[in-house]
Symmetry: C2
């Protein structure tokens, strides 16, 4: 691709094909085991011999028209205008990038499989020949290639009148697809499936369970060593806001916990880290703590759908680290990619750090966000002064907290603009069908998810956590409104009232955005790249947006609570 | 067009070419004067000899790709896929329809003139030949044809580096356009221009006034007897919600009142009836009461953009009648069309009544909504029983009040979904850039537009009205929150509190929607057309939507005010 910049210092010539230790390779379902071991150290980066997560997968939500769903880094690296882009050199560069952080699996296409992408599992127009070429490029770097498939393919491309997973004709359809794929694509990893979610087809349409659905694929893929990543993002997206008996946070557990033990061993249940969605702060999904007999992947999202859409600098390692520090049952880590044709791969220069962090944490979850940021800054800006590097590390360290502070605090979620998921609209989802309410009124705000008086969601957690969350006096401040509906004057564990906490956080968070912008402007001169100045424009937008969030949320709380700021700062009436 | 139904009984064979009395025809700027007089009575419909409004114009917001901006009755009658549709037979039927209600001017294309529509003023691809053909069809029925033009055409299609209305090259560009148009289009009426509005180009970009802009066109059109309809819908659509000094309701007056007397006589300043936009209940635009030396058109909108989008039955004659009963200075009436390729022309069968009502009121503003509804029902359902006809008349009579009751009362506006303008989202516009706020907090709601303590908007009205609106004790209930910010417990002139009024109106309005639906189901059998049953589905949607509005708005007021319903009805907490 013309205009593609040289690789960042932390990969390129420094990359090497990842190694997989036999300690994990004895797991026969791991395609990665087929790859050759190689070792060559990246300067300054220590890779411990055995990765914590044997599968470290990047899911692309790329459409064949070249767009990327919730993508903020330009157009697709794989597709354009209904066809494959076929820029093999660029893909080799990209594969180098991913291999340098030891990603070992990629899914190429959007989990919402529409239009021409439904035919990717065929060779109708040579699709599989192209997939094979891509898979070869990735495999040379130790990366297995997956495809997202449409559960309804037997009907929509197979000419059948059903996609019932227990129908013999449906099984035949999929067997033929799997056989053809493996006959053409040497290093194929398997399928990713989003079923019965947000309007996508699935086994529920036929009165079947998700185990019925996933196992169909798993049995067909097993002889080839393939896996099926089955997404657990299943909830009622036609909820009535008047219905207080339904709680979206409970949905993944309700749909999948009863099936624990009924999945084939090469099914990987792919669970988003947050029970609602990829919000800035949620408690970890209880399903990730409670599945005992199912292979599970924890799904992160580097693409900052709700987190500033790569206009805002938000280093996600602290968020992911919190999740990984839980007692996860996950045996794989998946991340929604934040990459695209953009010159910096990721739109915002600092968004590269999230891709890097995912690879590092998936390999070694004992790393701290600080360590990862330091590595990335060192590798990316090797010629910058200590002062500049420390400044960037500080932005990384503080950015996730700043974003939370100037957007939604205390476990509140979904105060963003519906559909866009960027910008502030505190009541935008309040009367909508998505099950993402905060129930603010003149007296209080938050969702009562307790067993005692609320939706009973806390019961999905292991006993100690359940007790912690159930009791408002022990529930951590940063998720307290996720579990409790409380008056604005309620005293948090910090000693502040809810209203005062919100005001303080928003003034402080927006101030951070201003600090980041000024800091970047000060050091940009020594970072040695024209693109660094493009990044300054993103910090401008972050500051504008953070100020907007600050003022709207503060006004929203003031209008509802009537509580004035103790420090007399400007809150618009 | 295949599938186009027979004409409704109130036109078709009963139509005749409109007559224009010499009493208005001595106005040389009226193209209609060129048409021949003809008289033939429509049975049961009395047309007084002299119309109240010499120009009775329908503005189509049709795009050349075949879509219609804010259109809810199918695709464009004029355009498809970037070209003219060229269904001359259909257009002749349509012209018959409009002539039967004595419409005497149409504008063909969207006021937002984009893409290929910018070339309509040229014959580059034979555009003007096609416009001439359409104009001929309309002219045969006494209707003049207008085009919307893009103010920036000198730059975007003329190759100039400016569109400054005082630049000689710009004048030359437009002169050539006007000359070519009149050389090709025999019955051309003139231009419609939306300038400096919602991102459209305009004279402000060059430091010129709207008189400078409008007069440029007017002087070029004058020798041909043409007019320029210059829209007064100019406001700051990038407003900061934090800025309380700007009031969108004041914008039309602020932009145009100072220019009163500076427009050429063949400029018609086209002013929306509502100061904000086409809301269900606003006070009349003060500009329509205050221009003394400018020809003015009052612009209505039959296309129910904010009023149920032709899914809801809303007979607009009562709304328009309220406006016409003011001391309007308008010398023309314009209406945004609600027509399209839809089999019933208007989507909802009852939406036809709005088109009919516009024609009738434009000719004779002394008619009552009841008279108009009776005529339309009689002409449209001649074989229905008295019971059925009375039922439809009752729906017409009650529907506007019902829509207001279940959506927004007391002069509140813009509680709809941003962008779509359908469905409820009480705070959807509250922190946005459109200047349409209601400032609800835990204590009260409404916009203080008084001189004493608010934006001073009331001062734009003639003294008696200004005094009426300024004083909360005399301000009519149905616009009281348009002019005042009041506590929820404030007693209205009706004796009810604001909160109780809102609850009562919403329960009653939604009940009406249920009544309408049941009534229509009862009489549908005798209305003699399959399409009547399609209409029943629209009443289903109206009921669903009305119920949603009722519950969301009631909950919104309850959450903010804490005031319970006196009658203990269900309000979700």
């Amino acid at each position: 691709m013309a205009g593609q910049p040289p690789l960042s210092p932390w990969m390129g010539s420094d990359y090497y094909t990842p190694c997989w230790d036999s300690g994990v390779r004895d797991d026969a379902w791991l395609l990665a085991s087929r790859m050759e071991k190689s070792e060559e150290p990246t300067p300054g980066v220590y890779w411990k011999p055995v990765p914590d997560s044997p599968i470290r997968m990047l899911d692309h939500w790329d459409n064949m028209d070249g767009t990327i769903e919730r993508g903020y880094a330009g157009r697709s690296l794989f597709f354009e205008d209904g066809k494959f882009r076929e820029d093999w050199q660029l893909l080799a560069q990209y594969a180098d990038l991913l291999a340098s952080i030891r990603i070992n699996a990629v899914s190429l296409n959007n989990v919402n499989v529409r239009d021409k992408a439904r035919w990717l599992i065929t060779n109708k127009h040579g699709e599989l020949d192209k997939v094979a070429k891509i898979a070869e490029i990735f495999a040379e770097r130790g990366i297995a290639t997956y495809l997202s498939v449409n559960f309804a393919a037997p009907k929509v491309i197979g000419g059948l009148d059903t996609s019932d997973p227990l129908d013999a004709r449906v099984e035949t359809f999929w067997r033929e697809r799997v056989e053809e794929i493996y006959s053409k694509v040497e290093h194929f990893g398997g399928f990713v499936v989003k079923a019965d979610a947000e309007g996508e087809p699935g086994p529920y349409q036929y009165g079947r369970t998700h185990a019925d659905g996933a196992n169909l694929f798993a049995r067909l893929l097993a002889p080839h060593g393939g896996l099926v990543f089955w997404r657990a993002f299943v909830y009622n997206c036609e909820q009535d806001w008047r219905d207080r008996t339904t709680d979206r946070a409970k949905a993944a557990w309700e749909n999948f916990k009863p099936l624990d033990g009924f999945f084939e061993p090469n099914v990987v249940l792919q669970v988003k880290n947050g029970p609602l969605d990829f919000q800035i702060k949620e408690p970890v999904s209880p399903l990730l703590l409670g599945l005992e007999s199912t292979r599970t992947a924890c799904e992160f999202q580097a693409s900052q759908e709700y987190l500033g859409q790569q206009q805002h600098a938000v280093f996600l390692a602290p968020l992911w680290k919190e999740v990984l520090d839980s007692e996860l049952c996950a045996s794989a880590l998946v991340c929604v990619a934040n990459t695209g044709l953009d010159e910096s791969w990721t739109g915002h220069k600092l968004a590269q750090a999230n891709l890097y962090a995912f690879g590092r944490l998936a390999w070694d979850s004992s790393l701290t966000p600080q360590q990862i940021a330091r590595e990335w800054v060192q590798l990316t800006f090797p010629d910058a002064s200590d002062r500049a590097r420390e400044a960037i590390e500080r932005i990384c360290a503080e950015s996730r907290g700043a974003y939370r502070d100037y957007t939604t605090n205390l476990g509140l979620c979904f105060m963003c603009r519906p559909g866009f998921h960027y910008g502030v609209d505190p009541d935008g989802y309040e009367y909508d069908r998505w099950g993402t309410y905060h129930f603010a009124d003149r007296d209080g705000i938050g969702v009562d998810r307790t067993v005692a008086t609320g939706s009973g969601y806390t019961a999905q957690y292991p006993p100690a956590l359940a007790a912690l969350y159930e009791d408002v006096s022990t529930c951590p401040d940063d998720v307290v409104l996720y579990f409790h509906h409380l008056p604005y004057a309620h005293r948090l564990q910090s000693g502040k009232s809810i209203a005062q906490h919100v005001y303080d956080a928003h003034f402080s968070g927006a101030q951070k955005a201003e600090d980041f912008r000024r800091t970047w402007a000060e050091i940009a001169g020594e970072l040695g790249s024209a693109r660094v100045f493009d990044t300054l424009a993103r910090f401008d937008e972050q500051l504008r947006s953070a100020t907007e969030w600050r003022d709207v949320i503060n006004t929203y709380f003031y209008r509802h609570s009537g509580i004035a700021d103790e420090h007399g700062r400007v809150i618009y009436p």
